[in-house]
């Protein structure tokens, strides 16, 4: 089968303001992001004939049929892939296949996580808040112990990481702090995100412990915001106002996993997810480049510890060497592998890789302002997960 390399390109991006308190519902935010993406591409809803989103989350706020009804889209193709952050990264994979198969010409993707100030979902019958709800095994085997979400799962991961790699608390704080400070610096330079003030190591160290060994600034915060983007075939993409940003590499891989295992099992791979490097290798192979050719990497960074695990699992450094890598400055805008160039989930906005994607397009258009990486040609986006991984590599025109 013919490669999907450079078969589609991103021609429109849209995003709302990001804020801790917009008091606007998820549907309204999504709609604004979509109209901005349409405006960026200078097209109208009737020019869209496909919709692809991640498959588990955003449709509870706005599903594909309702979107088509509200915006007047005559959808030839609608599909979902992956889950939240991974699904946003994977949207390009499904859109590329649909376009290559002739099922759609121009495909819209949108996302918000709805974690903001005004949640549009009715409470459950028991009145439980949404963050209390985990399903199945986690409900019965973890939540009763007050282990009710990823903050706690990753605090356990962090303690094990410190133990496995023989780090002192001081050394480990310096490593995690380097990530928090790096991403904050990018957010301050970008200026559109939720965090506007620089972060020092003292600020980081003095922030309150939430779940040992993770502090307040090891975690992203929930905020309002939504993103959308539009892709079309490479041939059509040449007729749009912005230079096309090509989808040049795509790869995915997964590991069998027990039901309910999200960072609470994993056996020997508790700290290291080999399928992530496999996914990246596949994407690099499609793009015909190697890791060293990447000008930046948008790494899933809801918590600082994730960045260490993912940099190692993606093969950017060896097991246990992620800390030395981030402390060396390699991840800074001037480094060998700038990450989360707009400030990431940690300091720009927690929209599960969607704002990372918008930023990646800006970088490759040469439109990233103070965060611009000189001569950026290739950028990768990954979805960060315990069992499935999607990687997308973008290339400038």
């Amino acid at each position: 089968m013919e490669s999907l390399r450079d078969k589609i390109a991103i021609v429109g991006i849209g995003e709302t303001e990001y804020s801790f308190k917009l008091n606007r519902g998820a549907r309204e935010l999504i709609t604004e992001a979509i109209y901005k993406a349409l405006d960026d591409a200078k097209i109208s809803p009737k020019d869209i004939d496909g919709v692809v989103t991640e498959s588990t989350w955003v449709q509870q706020f706005l599903n594909h049929p309702e979107l088509a009804l509200g915006l007047g889209i005559n959808t030839r193709y609608a599909g979902g892939i992956g889950s939240t952050g991974n699904g946003n990264v994977a949207s390009f994979h499904l859109a590329a296949k649909a376009i290559a198969a002739g099922q759609a010409d121009t495909v819209l993707t949108y996302f918000t996580n709805g974690y903001g100030s005004q949640q549009d979902i009715p409470k459950t019958a028991s009145g439980a808040r949404r963050e209390d709800i985990t399903r199945g095994i986690k409900d019965s085997f973890e939540a009763p112990y007050g282990s009710n979400g990823p903050r706690i799962y990753f605090a356990q991961v962090a303690n094990r990481y410190m133990y496995e790699y023989g780090l002192t608390k001081e050394q480990f704080s310096r490593q995690l702090g380097a990530i928090a400070i790096n991403n904050r610096r990018n957010a301050v330079l970008n200026g559109r995100g939720v965090e506007k003030e620089p972060l020092t190591y003292e600020d980081y160290l003095n922030s309150r412990m939430i779940a040992d060994p993770l502090r307040l600034f090891d975690f992203c915060r929930w905020n309002d915001g939504a993103c959308a983007w539009i892709v079309t075939s490479a041939e059509r993409a040449k007729g749009f106002p912005h230079a096309p940003v090509y989808v040049t590499g795509m790869g995915s891989s997964w590991t069998p996993e027990a039901r309910g295992d999200y960072w609470t099992q994993g056996g020997k791979n508790y700290l290291y997810k080999p399928h992530m490097a496999v996914a990246l290798d596949r994407a690099l192979q499609m793009a015909g480049i190697s890791r060293g050719d990447l000008d930046f990497a948008q790494i899933y960074d809801a918590y600082t510890i994730m960045v260490l695990i993912f940099l190692e699992s993606l093969g950017f450094c060896k097991k246990g060497e992620g800390g030395a890598f981030v402390e060396s400055g390699a991840i800074s805008l001037e480094g060998s592998l700038p990450i989360d160039t707009h400030g990431g989930n940690l300091s720009h906005s927690y929209i599960n890789m969607a704002s990372h994607i918008v930023e990646a397009v800006r970088q490759l258009r040469g439109d990233a302002g103070a965060c611009q990486i000189k001569d950026a040609e290739y950028g990768m986006i990954e979805g960060g997960s315990s069992w499935e991984e999607f990687v997308t590599i973008l290339r400038r025109a």
Binding site: E131, N159, R259
Partner: protein, 148 residues
């Protein structure tokens, strides 16, 4: 038995669900039962409908008797959820058994200060009865059998 932790105000397990009712039947009897394949004798967890090693459907819940040890932990100082905030700070941990390595049981650690906890720490199970159906397995540092 002494009430160590108040589970009654938080979410409780579905102890009757057929795929894992045997686990909770075990805790009522003071046992930790983990799924084990009758054909290849390997443990797995969480429960899977087929053995992940030899793919046999011939799985039983087997009471582990070996030493439980601390695999990792966190001291939750502040839980954003009001359901758990009322508990105050608490230790969540993953516990591993010598005879079933690389499988982790999420639990709470009691009778231990966070300053004293360490990975690899030998533990012993405490079975806290919540009601007629639910008994929660939690753990504490193993007492030295030779101590006076």
């Amino acid at each position: 038995m002494k009430e160590y932790l108040d589970f009654s105000k938080g979410p409780l397990p579905d102890v009757e669900f057929s795929e894992w009712a045997d686990f909770w039947e075990g805790t009522r009897q003071g046992e930790i039962r983990l799924p084990r394949c009758r054909d290849c004798n390997q443990f797995h967890f969480y429960p899977c409908w087929l053995c992940p090693f030899c793919h046999s459907p011939n799985i039983e819940w087997y009471a582990v008797t070996s030493q439980p040890r601390l695999f990792t932990w966190t001291y939750v100082r502040r839980n954003l959820s009001p359901v758990f905030a009322i508990r105050g700070p608490y230790i969540v941990a993953l516990v591993e058994f010598d005879e079933a390595p690389n499988l982790y049981l999420t639990t709470n650690i009691i009778e231990c200060q966070p300053e004293d906890i360490y990975i690899g720490m030998p533990l012993e199970a405490v079975f806290q009865r919540v009601d007629d159906k639910i008994t929660m397995p939690i753990f504490r540092p193993m007492k030295d059998k030779h101590a006076a």
